[in-house]
């Protein structure tokens, strides 16, 4: 299993039956592939649907049905469509159980920056600020480092996505939980030691005695 699917598979363990879940573009979309067969998770695409599904057959793309990246998708039986105000009512109103997003930086306070790099990349926040502020549980799914540089840092240097602390960080090396006391290392990937994680992290990590190995 490659790093990204390892991350996605671990994130999928956080999902349970009946949940409403929003997956960010990129790595987070892989999570849908790893949902256990015995539970039903409702995937929202913030452009206006609950019950999105991937479109695996050629020739069935429909102009009026796409994901938040504008790509053709399918819909499960029992899907529901709505406008953008309602879609963000679901997100902001506490109806969204889990959002899984990528990250550029997460810091010791558990704050996320994932929408811009001043002077370099200004894509816009899209729905990210609403998702992080409004979802019941925020999971950051990302590679632990970028070109060798730590992404889990003492304090974000990039503009924040929200003042709300995220709930879980899942990388190819570790599962880390932001808490009142700071970032707690909860799990390491198979073959990875706590020391490996600490070495790849510039933020202070709280390393408990008992650290589980990711069940992936």
């Amino acid at each position: 299993m490659d790093d990204k699917n390892l991350i996605a598979k671990r994130v999928a363990c956080e999902l349970s039956d009946g949940m409403l879940v929003n997956l960010g573009i990129g790595l987070p979309t892989l999570v849908a592939r790893h949902v256990p067969a015995d539970i039903r998770v409702h995937f929202q695409s913030e452009n206006g649907i609950v019950g999105m599904d991937s479109l695996n057959e050629h020739g069935l793309a429909e102009d009026d049905l796409s994901d938040a990246g504008g790509n053709p998708i399918s819909a499960v039986p029992g899907a529901a469509a709505f406008d953008s105000a309602f879609s963000f009512g679901l997100i902001r109103g506490g109806h969204l159980d889990v959002t899984v997003l990528g990250g550029l930086e997460v810091d010791e306070a558990g704050l996320l920056a994932n929408w811009m790099v001043p002077g370099k990349m200004v894509p816009g926040m899209g729905g990210a600020m609403d998702l992080v502020t409004g979802a019941k549980k925020v999971i950051v799914a990302m590679m632990h480092t970028a070109k060798g540089a730590a992404k889990i840092v003492p304090a974000c240097t990039l503009p924040l996505t929200s003042a709300r602390r995220v709930d879980l960080i899942v990388t190819e090396l570790a599962v880390i939980e932001p808490t009142d006391a700071g970032l707690v290392l909860r799990e390491v990937a198979p073959g990875v030691t706590p020391a490996d994680v600490v070495a790849a992290t510039t933020a202070r990590l709280i390393v408990p005695d008992n650290i589980a190995t990711m069940a992936v």
Binding site: S45, E46, N47, G48, I49, E62, D63, D64, L65, S66, D67, A68, G69, G70, A75, A81, F82, D83, S84, A85, S87, F88, I91, R92, M121, V122, P123, G124, M125, G126, G127, A128, M129, D130, T133, G134, P159, L160, T161, S162, A163
Partner: protein
Amino acid sequence: MCKLTRLAEAIAGIPIGATLMIGGFMGVGTPERMIDEIVRQGTGELIVIANDTARPGVGIGKLIDARLVKRVVASHIGTNAETQRQMIAGDIEVELIPQGTLAERIRSGGHGLGGVLTATGVGTVAAAGKPTLEIDGRIFLVERPLRADFALVAARQADHLGNLGYALTARNFNPLMAMAADRVLAEARSIVPTGVLPPDAVGTPCVVVDMLIAVEARRG
């Protein structure tokens, strides 16, 4: 009162420098015929309020390619390198707004509310210069209503009166924008006789639609 208007005539009514709300999300549910006609007529210096600028050659991206836009108010422009290029060159001004806030500000403008109270953006650069209000110990931004001179919306079906029915994710910002502009121009993939669209399938009632773009004849 017949709202049916020829495409060229409808677009000719949009002056240079107008503020347009344009429906669609990454080109899905975007009024492509009206956009193509704006490009053909070359109506410039536009202020565009929309979720995004899609991609070069797609949807609102065509207005960017043609350099007809001086200012964009959107939730993201990351999928359109040309928008970013023009922004960095100082040829286009970009205001970024969180998507849920954008939707709600447009709704607020169309529903006659004084604005939106949202926690989204608090403690980030999106809060800069915005008043806040504390309610039950929680801080909310006071976000102002948005309105436009024109709303350009796309529907799956319209009826002869101008009622609009939307489909799936092509709905997105269209019904919100149709409430929030001085003039509402709608195009539909098909126009059906009044009564064909049942009342519960109408997403935008005809009373807010000013012009319905005529379908070009395909037969004969």
